[in-house]
Symmetry: C2
């Protein structure tokens, strides 16, 4: 067993897809690349593949480290590895950076083959449905006809759900965590403020800022600060930061006064230096647009009619971004179709971010769900 049960050093790979994809928006990409990582081994029956779908700002780097010196492992390293809830001794786990993503998959920073220039503002808006299509193409390229499982949290949970709507015969098990069947008006409202802060940043330059020395960092910083408020619960913000001040007495100026301000500034600055603004605004659009009931002009129960997979749906008590009531809508839609679904509402203080944490109860439930698969 490796140190700390980690998968160890991993290396991203590139999938070059030369067959065109017709996108939801109507445009076609003639070819594209996806960065992906795999952990564990595909078995002889090729029935142990698990696709991990990422959320808003996630990527293909789910577990392990790229280099020994990396400060942090992949974003779901607590869940994925040898002997971990998603056990790479048993499962072949695949992480993909979504089309349009920030980590090297074809996106706004890539070269448009038709113009030989950076896509920038011209890069199309990609939807959850498009992602699932491209993920399916990559899965097939890896020699897998059918996924043992698909799992995702937040926007990743929407992709896991969509796999079952588009390809009901190609998924055996599904884990949807801290997700919703679509966004509420309040969710869209937060996304709109984030997008407007980026789009109205003069350095955004209508999305064509790559050749310029000025990047829209101000707007991206505000968007990320706002995001972090919605990732945490009111309670956890209170217990972590409360009204703690940097200095004993108030300074009566506009410098950082409260510790919560330091936290947000730090998160905003870090993100603004790392993430692509065009990708960010498109990812929020994918969230806004996802709505299988609108697309299929049917109620959720009817949309779920063809689903074959077994489901595990998980929500967290303090998540106000995607509250438990939204997960229950999914559960109801599944039950209406006599689909095998387990639902767990986990007591957690940390809000939406809880899906990335390693709460014992939460991880045990996922572990049981996966352990069951090769028991029968």
């Amino acid at each position: 067993m490796k140190e700390n049960n980690s998968i160890g050093i991993v290396k991203p790979k590139i999938f070059k897809c030369t067959s065109p994809i017709k996108l939801s928006c109507g445009k076609t990409l003639d070819n594209y690349e996806l960065i992906y990582e795999t952990y564990g081994k595909l078995n002889k029956n090729k029935d142990n593949a698990v696709l991990v779908c990422h959320a808003l700002t996630g990527n293909q780097h789910v577990a392990g480290r790229h280099k020994k010196i990396d400060k942090y492992p992949g974003w779901w390293d607590s869940l994925v590895g040898p002997g971990k809830p998603l056990n790479t001794n048993k499962f072949f786990v695949i992480g993909i950076n979504n089309l349009g993503g920030n980590e090297g998959s074809t996106g706004p920073k890539s070269i448009n083959p038709k113009t030989k220039k950076i896509w920038g503002a011209d890069f199309p808006i990609i939807t959850v449905e498009d992602w699932v299509k491209t993920q399916k193409t990559l899965i097939n390229y890896l020699g897998i006809d059918k996924l043992s499982s698909v799992i995702g949290g937040s926007l990743g949970g929407m992709q896991a759900l969509e796999w079952n709507i588009q390809f009901p015969y190609e998924v055996n098990n599904t884990v949807v965590i801290a997700a919703a069947p679509n966004l509420t008006a309040q969710n869209i409202a937060f996304n709109q403020v984030a997008r407007q802060s980026i789009i109205t940043d003069p350095d955004f330059q209508k999305g064509n800022f790559y050749a310029s020395k000025n990047k829209p960092k101000r707007g991206l910083r505000i968007a990320r600060m706002l995001g972090h408020i919605t990732y945490l619960s009111n309670d956890v913000m209170g217990s972590k930061f409360g009204r703690k001040t940097k200095n004993k007495e108030y300074q009566f100026n506009f410098d950082t006064e409260f510790e919560i301000e330091s936290y947000l500034n730090y998160q905003g600055d870090k993100f603004a230096n790392e993430f692509d603004a065009n990708t960010y605004i498109r990812m929020t659009k994918a969230l806004d647009y996802y709505d299988p009931t609108k697309k299929n002009k049917k109620k959720l129960s009817e949309v779920f009619k063809k689903i074959k997979s077994k489901f595990l749906v998980i929500s967290f008590t303090s998540d106000w971004r995607f509250s438990s009531s939204r997960s229950k809508e999914i559960v109801k839609g599944l039950l209406d179709n006599n689909i095998n679904v387990s639902y767990a509402e986990i007591s957690a203080e940390s809000g939406h971010d809880a899906f990335l944490m390693s709460d014992n109860h939460y991880h045990e439930i996922i572990k049981s769900f996966f352990n069951r698969i090769f028991k029968s």
Copy 2:
């Protein structure tokens, strides 16, 4: 009785205070002006004066119209007027635009008498404590020794509370609506994002933008859009806007797609053209700083020890900006001191904004509280 029970045409007045005020931040203003309005008549005993304190972006124009053609009356016209819950046939009602405000009281847009230039960035941060001090000076100038009542919602409720802490012998009745004894970390977090969006707008020019043709409208717009999310409940956003789109099919671009986006854009644009950015960031600071327990280095119950006034505390079920639990902290602090307090948690869908609405149950409770005053 006037049309629609309105107070009719009203005219703002100016109070020029020539005695200096030492502010909480340590600086002194040698003199200042406050814009104010009054409705009804001060009686012979001078015991019917009610001070209405305004919230974040409010002003002295509480009721009536400045001109017949004004589209909207004052911001609390539904509550204040002849025969209304705060009955101007009985009470002499005073509205004051707080020091540093947007409507003509001395503030960042005013001339600094020492430099003969616009204050801009040099205008000090004003606190709730400072406002109450200046309000007291104006009340005394009007010949009133003791207020019959002080009433306010949100940040206005904090002022009503502070009146009782600073001047416990000068208030008989207090109404604190949709308020809190201090901000939570989440409240401060939202304020910080709003401030940072303004401060990092290049047109803010460190607060000295008055001589420039560019005003920090982008930042102010984002701040206001964000504010509006916190003023409404998730439920009312859902029932008002839901996932309604402007067009039948998605447009797959960054124009306005959902009706909630239109609403926020409209509110943001309108506010950015009307409000002063330096005032806005200072008002949010007043909110952040207010914390009588910190200032007095005592628990809330101890801070309330000298209070003499009768209290009415009101909160709204769907208010997540200042939730009912925060109002209950105030109630508990008052009860700990055997203070006469009535508390009402009003069932309302509209969130924090409910304090401005004319819900029947809500207004009846306020009406009863005021009616009682001249009964005995």
